[in-house]
């Protein structure tokens, strides 16, 4: 079974490994994924990347293997195919990784404050929040391709992120933010903590993604007619 591994940013894709495709900014990510699907014709898409932690038990670097993905303020909820998801869960467990199978929510902006994270936690009970997963799943669903999501926590539920990040949209437009950081030494500590979280998150993804990938390669869905392929 062929597997396509994608991540929203180049930074995340580099961290995950050379086989991972960076999809680019939010508006770009949908056509990028559609193109990758057209070229690679995968049986499974693995969406990897980092997320903000909402489950207070999770530490930086903890993995979230999504059992459900929901859009904040939308009625859209998706769940991965049960058989491959369960195989993935068992494989991660056998490898002794620290992970949870939980919900993930996608929203338009970075969840910066602990208050915002608490509100999301109380409302959705999601382990993590990101800005990209839901639209990517919608593309996969439309193309009738099964998918899995593995995210790693970059900042915990009890961390307030630097205020400047509330305007973060994508990697390509980070210059302005970097400038603001330089002008604002009071936020340097928070950025250093975030950089530490990123290192731990990418380290976990580097270990976790190949495990899920192997499962995806080895698992044939019941509705896949392999003889016809």
């Amino acid at each position: 079974m062929s597997v396509l591994i994608v991540a929203p940013t180049k930074r995340e894709a580099r961290g995950v490994g050379e086989k991972c495709v960076a999809l680019g900014a939010r508006d770009k990510s949908i056509p990028s994924l559609e193109l990758a699907i057209a070229e690679r014709k995968p049986d499974t898409i693995i969406i990897a990347g980092v997320c903000g932690g909402l489950d207070p038990a999770l530490k930086k670097g903890s993995l979230v293997f999504a059992r459900q993905v929901e859009g904040v303020g939308t009625e859209s909820t998706f769940a991965p195919e049960k058989m491959i998801f369960e195989s993935g869960r068992r494989a991660l467990r056998s490898a002794g990784l620290s992970f949870v199978t939980s919900k993930l929510v996608t929203q338009q902006n970075v969840a910066v404050t602990t208050t915002e994270k608490l509100a999301l936690w109380n409302e959705y009970g999601a382990a993590g929040v990101d800005m990209e997963t839901l639209p990517l799943i919608q593309v996969a669903e439309k193309a009738n391709i099964r998918w899995l999501v593995l995210r790693a926590v970059i900042d915990t539920a009890s961390t307030t992120l630097p205020e400047t990040l509330s305007n973060w949209e994508n990697e390509e437009h980070e210059r302005g933010i970097k400038l603001k950081i330089l002008q604002n030494p009071s936020e340097w500590k928070k950025y250093l903590q975030l950089a530490h979280g990123l290192r731990l998150a990418l380290k976990s993804l580097r270990v976790g993604v190949p495990i899920i990938q192997k499962v995806a390669e080895d698992t044939v869905s019941l509705d896949m007619d392999i003889l016809a392929q």
Partner: protein, 341 residues
């Protein structure tokens, strides 16, 4: 203060010892269910729907003590069913007190007056009486008239005889905040109970009345309203301040199901007091072979509407180890208590 200083100190010492030993998971309260039989059939109870042969099975005192020794938790909450139906409940309690366990004997109090002469008051024993509301609401929730009156009489008598008495209130969708405040004032001021516990009802699929349960956002709203009261300061809750903040949606917490392991007539129950997915043969098997990370809010759909203290009070106490300042506050206030059925 809902908990005696002696108990707070013993629990704090126990926690420090676990931390020093580098233990990742350890029990705080053993939930002991020596029988499932009950003399009531409360609207929101999911504990008593078992076949007759199971309802007729009781743990012996020796089995109860063995489970307690195996588990090692400093606090034992005896629940059920109705523990006072057990013909040897006094012997069970005595053995646990001898082991210097802080025992919470949970009861609906129907048989309490009869048992009082046989139980000995002790700083290690707390009688925890189920009180879901003032008379009309309580009798409706336990589906029998006269139970409130009987419980009040038994509480007064137990207090007169020198027992430590707590109450345990489960909040359902009929628990109007004003009614709850009236109840807490009554229990606190008129009856002078030593501590009060509150917990939202867990939506047991087997409970006789499925309409009584609140969902999570409703729970948070209800607790915000109940606890947002000037009278709150005088109420002697048997909970850590962190847990009360959690109930009001002001503190994010994940469940710590292993903090309150449950031993029932069927074995060591997985994963928690409220869900019985399977049973382990020993405490060690329960702790080591359960996939604990699979349970909790967001992780398992059955946990969505659970904010019960048997899952979350241990988390509150855990944050005590991570944050000594919060910890001191928590230790000074409480741990222990009865289950919310």
């Amino acid at each position: 203060m809902g908990v005696p200083l002696r108990q707070a100190l013993v629990v704090a010492k126990y926690l420090m010892a676990q931390k020093l030993r580098g233990k990742k998971r350890f029990p705080l309260v053993l939930m002991l269910e020596p029988l499932y039989r009950c003399n009531l059939e409360c609207e929101g109870c999911g504990k008593i729907q078992h076949p007759e042969e199971i309802l007729n099975t009781y743990l012996s005192p020796e089995e109860c003590w063995e489970a307690t020794d195996e588990c090692g938790a400093p606090v034992v909450s005896i629940a059920g069913g109705e523990p006072l139906i057990h013909p040897e409940i006094d012997t069970i309690v005595e053995g646990l007190v001898q082991r210097k366990k802080f025992v919470y004997l949970c009861t609906n109090a129907i048989l309490l007056e009869r048992w009082l002469p046989k139980l000995k008051p002790s700083p290690y024993l707390t009688i925890s009486v189920h009180m879901d509301g003032m008379e009309k609401l309580h009798d409706a929730m336990v589906a029998r008239e006269g139970v409130f009156e009987k419980a009040v009489k038994a509480i007064r008598k137990a207090k007169d005889l020198g027992y430590r008495v707590n109450t345990n209130t489960t909040v359902f969708n009929d628990s109007a905040p004003e009614g709850m405040r009236e109840l807490f004032n009554f229990l606190n001021d008129d009856l002078g109970v030593d501590g009060m516990m509150i917990s939202p009802g867990y939506d047991y699929p087997k409970a006789p009345n499925q309409k009584v349960f609140l969902n999570r956002p409703e729970m948070i709203k209800t607790f915000e309203t109940i606890l947002d009261s000037p009278e709150r300061k005088k109420w002697r809750f048997n909970h850590s301040p962190i847990f009360l903040k959690f109930l009001q949606g002001k503190k994010a917490m994940q469940c710590t199901a292993w903090g309150n392991p449950t031993r029932s007539v069927l074995g060591w129950q997985r994963p928690c007091y409220l869900m019985n997915e399977s049973y382990a043969d020993s405490f060690i098997e329960l702790m080591e072979e359960t996939e604990w990370d699979r349970y909790g809010f967001g992780r398992d759909a059955r946990c969505t509407n659970c904010m019960a203290h048997c899952g979350y009070e241990a988390t509150a106490v855990g944050s005590m180890l991570e944050n000594p300042l919060e910890g001191l506050k928590a230790a000074a206030s409480t741990i222990g208590g009865g289950p919310s059925k």
